[in-house]
Amino acid sequence: MKLPPLALLTLAGVGGLPTAALGHGVILERQATEAIEVTAQYDTGEPLTEAQVLVFSPEDPQNPWSQGRTDDQGRFWFRPDQDLVGTWEVIVRQAGHGGLVTVEVEETGAATAENPAAEGDDSGSSMQSASVNGVNDVANLSPLHRVVLMGTTIWGFIGTALFFWRRKD
């Protein structure tokens, strides 16, 4: 049995699904970005609220790259510049209490907590934890994108099938 050339091409397309989808003009892009959350609290569990936060990039350990204050739960977020690879330092201070946590930004753009438990205090009641969490913001496709991707692909198959199914008058 001799197979029609067009059918062979379409079967090959089944293996290359994204090509079929993108052929209908849907452009999907993904971008992984990371935010760092720092949480500061005493070993009593009490958060350091409204504490001063200083963020230092690997390029300049002397002058803060960013600064702000913790919220009412002792939390602070920042998004390091992924081009500045190396060790980032975050200092949290409040009325003589202080601690430091470091975050390693690698070539891939991934951020890793070097010392998730921050150091330092002024009272023996140390800042016990400074958790650092990487967050992927845009990496997953949205439900709408998934529906569009599947719909356009299915319609491609159906259209092709109908092409062969049609009656020749």
């Binding site: 079967l11 430091l100 470091t102 070097e114 150091e119 992927n136």
Partner: protein
């Protein structure tokens, strides 16, 4: 007829294939790649070739409390004539990765410099700097000095001979004045990370000068009336009353060895197990502490 059958056969195959694709799509939910959380191996990047050097000062501070005095948690107004501290094996490190004193880490030094001699300083006075006193300075390769360790050792001579730390001063409350001398003999090693304070320290450029600071928090010993009674600093501080109770004719001159007999077991344990180890900091930064004797 044969061509039409072939076409319909292929159309059916395509429909079946599309159905299979749907199942495949449902099973393969797009997943974001997890960030690589591996910690980079330590490198010697921050070490220098030894040719580019600067001067690194190692200083000590009792903060404003040592210079200006303060009120203890039990209401004694304290002023200090001298606070002698003796340092030995003072060592500044460039640690990569940075040293975390609260973790079970050890300093991973890519560069280190050490002061050569045992030195006693007085935290209460420095004509050039009201807040800190120079222990010594040393020529050091340029780089980022982000860890500091020292031994608080017994002095071999001078006014604090035989003791690692000596407080001399005056306490006043409700018209009563007590001249006090408190002599401490326990020896500890303090191993600390980066300085935390109003400014960053230890960043040494070639042909320049930088400093590090060993900081002593006196409120851990006496408490601080400026803090709440239930503040953890005050809860874990000895206060001055236990010493005032030992005064005769307005004078108390006592050593920690004598205090073992004179204080309650609970007070003495607090002094040696909690207070003295907590004295040493780097600014507000914490230290690992180990007792030598």
């Amino acid at each position: 007829m044969g061509q039409k059958l072939n076409a319909r056969l292929w159309a059916m195959l395509l429909l079946v294939a599309s159905g299979g694709f749907l199942v495949g799509c449902g099973a393969e939910t797009p997943e974001a790649e997890a960030p690589d959380t591996a910690i980079e191996e330590p490198t010697a990047e921050t070490a220098t070739d030894g040719e580019e050097e600067g001067i690194l000062e190692i200083r000590a501070s009792g903060e404003d409390r040592a210079v200006e005095g303060f009120t203890s948690k039990d209401g004694w107004e304290l002023s200090f004539d001298h606070i002698y501290v003796t340092f030995d094996e003072v060592t500044a490190f460039q640690s990569d990765p940075p040293f975390d004193a609260q973790a079970d880490d050890s300093i991973q030094a890519v560069q280190e410099v050490r002061l050569p001699e045992l030195t006693t300083v007085d935290l209460t006075a420095d004509p050039d700097d009201e807040d800190s006193v120079l222990i010594d300075e040393v020529a050091a390769p340029a780089g980022r000095y982000n860890a500091l360790s020292w031994k608080m050792a017994q002095a071999t001579d001078g006014p604090a001979e035989g003791y690692s730390m000596v407080f001399q001063g005056t306490a006043t409350r409700d018209g009563e004045t007590i001249d006090f001398t408190l002599k401490m003999s326990p020896e500890f090693t303090y191993t600390c990370g980066d300085f935390i304070g109003d400014e960053r320290k230890g960043i040494l450029e070639a042909d320049s000068m930088a400093d590090l600071q060993a900081t002593f928090h006196l409120d851990h010993l006496f408490g601080d009336a400026g803090k709440a009674d239930d503040d953890s600093t005050n809860l874990m501080a000895l206060g001055f009353d236990p010493l005032a109770n030992l005064a005769e004719d307005g004078v108390v001159d006592v050593s920690t060895d004598e205090l073992e007999e004179l204080l309650s077991e609970e007070e003495y344990a607090m002094l040696t197990d909690m207070v003295i180890p907590e004295l040493g900091h780097v600014g507000e930064g914490h230290c690992q502490v180990s007792e030598l004797s």
